[in-house]
Amino acid sequence: MHHVVLERWSQGASVLHRRDPRAKIAALMVFLVVLATAHRALPVLGVALVLLLSAALIWARLPLFRALARAAIVLPFSLIFAAVCWLTGDPARGFSLLLKSYLSALAVLLVVSTTPFPALLRGLETIGAPRFLLMVAQFLYRYLFVISEEAQHMTIAAASRGATVRGVMAGARFRAAAGALAVLFARSYGRAEDIHRSMLARGFLGRFQPAAALRFRATDAVFTLFASLAPVLLRAAVERAL
């Protein structure tokens, strides 16, 4: 399934994987802002940044082409707007939309596929994101695929009972889908209560206890410095040269 790939990628042991999540978040933000505010010489800058991210992907020992293909998930949305830009006589803006959305997605993918999700959330917590929200996000991520699979079972069960047969009244099928969703809702609610009870039974005191505290080492500081400087210098060089 979709997430399993990311989960496997983020368990690697490369130099990038071992960096503190805060270092990677800081570098990501610098990269995104540099990209978002760039207006000149975009094609050349785009090539330079793709090469930079590809080098990082190889450095992290991730499958380069699969990562490049995964980031292309943003392209359908961008392509529609790029086509509109093209038709209204502004192909440069269309190109910029495609380039910026793709590169941003690739940069985010690089960070989340070198950082396990709980570590990423802990990094976000230490830089000031609301803890309650992050705990909700962690539970959401944990049960996302459990509930999704339940929904899949329900659709298969419904299909095997003839829910997709043509000619059945659309109104009845609509109500059946609503009923299925209501059942899923009730089950999820009940499951959440069970989870909470078993958490209490295991001594939950209102917050997660991380197994090991995050440590921002000197290597992390050096990494942050260079990873942040790389896109800035690339952009400065490209804009000076052209």
């Binding site: 705990m135 509930i147 099928r173 889908a177």
Partner: protein, 302 residues
């Protein structure tokens, strides 16, 4: 409707991020207040439910299906603040794990869908959810939540200078209206099914709202949504006219050398102007919401 990075201009995403941070903080504190820790797994699992709900297709018309978006449904069952938190967590996970929606644009996405979308969806239910028009309120809430977030997203794209000719804008608005009505219908159907299973799930809004106050609140939301859209199309249209008539030759030469300094400067001044107009509009809407909020609060305390 998840805006990726690269679509919004710098003033727009920066403004939305700056606005989203305190709003999110407030909503989170609001959701925590009065709840114990048991809410944490509940909110997380219900977020997972909203994700999973996309897999259950509702047949609408010939060969097409639709699915639940869920902001309004969560607001009716968990309360508006908790629903906002759940939708925020969903938006964050979609941006991080699925690359659906940008990081810099997350402030905009949060405001569109998690804050305004959920609150607009809750408004009709809050006003009329206890009375004769309960069903209509549930339906209107689902539709309004989707419509408000869609119009906001469109307006942000327009203010950022993403070109949208009238025809494209018309088609997308029509599509949004249709999907808003579907969301309303699905929300209502699911709520009714839920109540036959177990009546306790849907929260009761406090009763005793006056009709006039509700009408004013709804009208304000609709006016704000439409106003943002109209305000952001008008300057864009004028600018485009200028481009086509006055400096059309420049534009042609720029096609071969994309985005040279001149064009960037032109856009930047345009951005500034439009961003300040947008901000002024936002301030007006904010003021209106504040006044209405005050009025509602006073009514409640009496």
């Amino acid at each position: 409707m998840h805006i990726p990075d690269g679509f919004l201009s710098t003033p727009v995403w920066a403004t939305m991020d700056v606005a989203a941070a305190p709003a999110l903080g407030y909503i989170v504190r609001r959701a925590q207040r009065g709840f114990d820790d048991s809410r944490v797994p509940l909110l997380g699992v219900m977020g997972a439910f909203v994700f999973a709900a996309q897999m259950i297709n509702f047949p609408v018309g010939i060969g097409t299906t639709s699915h639940l978006v869920g902001g309004a449904l969560l607001a009716y069952t968990l309360g508006p603040a908790a629903a906002s938190v759940v939708m925020s967590a969903i938006i964050a996970i979609q941006a991080l794990v699925f690359q659906d929606g940008g990081i810099l644009a997350m402030g905009a996405n949060l405001i569109n869908m998690a804050l305004v979308g959920v609150l607009a969806g809750y408004l009709p239910f809050y006003l009329w959810g206890g009375g004769r028009w309960r069903k209509l309120a549930i339906f209107a809430g689902g539709a309004l939540s989707l419509l408000a977030s869609a119009v906001l997203a469109l307006a942000e794209l327009l203010v950022s200078g993403v070109p949208m000719p009238a025809s494209v804008l018309g088609v997308s608005l029509a599509l949004f209206v249709v999907s808003a009505l579907l969301e309303g219908a699905i929300t209502l159907a699911v709520i009714e099914a839920l109540e036959t299973i177990q009546p306790g799930f849907v929260r009761k809004p406090e009763t005793g709202r006056s009709f006039a106050l509700g009408a004013i609140g709804l009208a304000a939301v609709l006016l704000a949504a439409v106003g943002v859209l109209v305000a952001s199309t008008a300057p864009d249209g004028i600018e485009k006219l200028g481009l086509q008539t006055g400096i059309a030759s420049h534009v042609r030469s720029l096609v071969t050398t994309p985005l040279t300094g001149y064009q960037a400067a032109f856009f930047q001044t345009g951005w500034l102007r439009k961003a300040s107009a947008g901000l002024a509009g936002l301030a007006l809407i904010y003021g209106a919401c504040l006044l209405i909020g005050r009025a509602v609060a006073r009514k409640r305390s009496v």
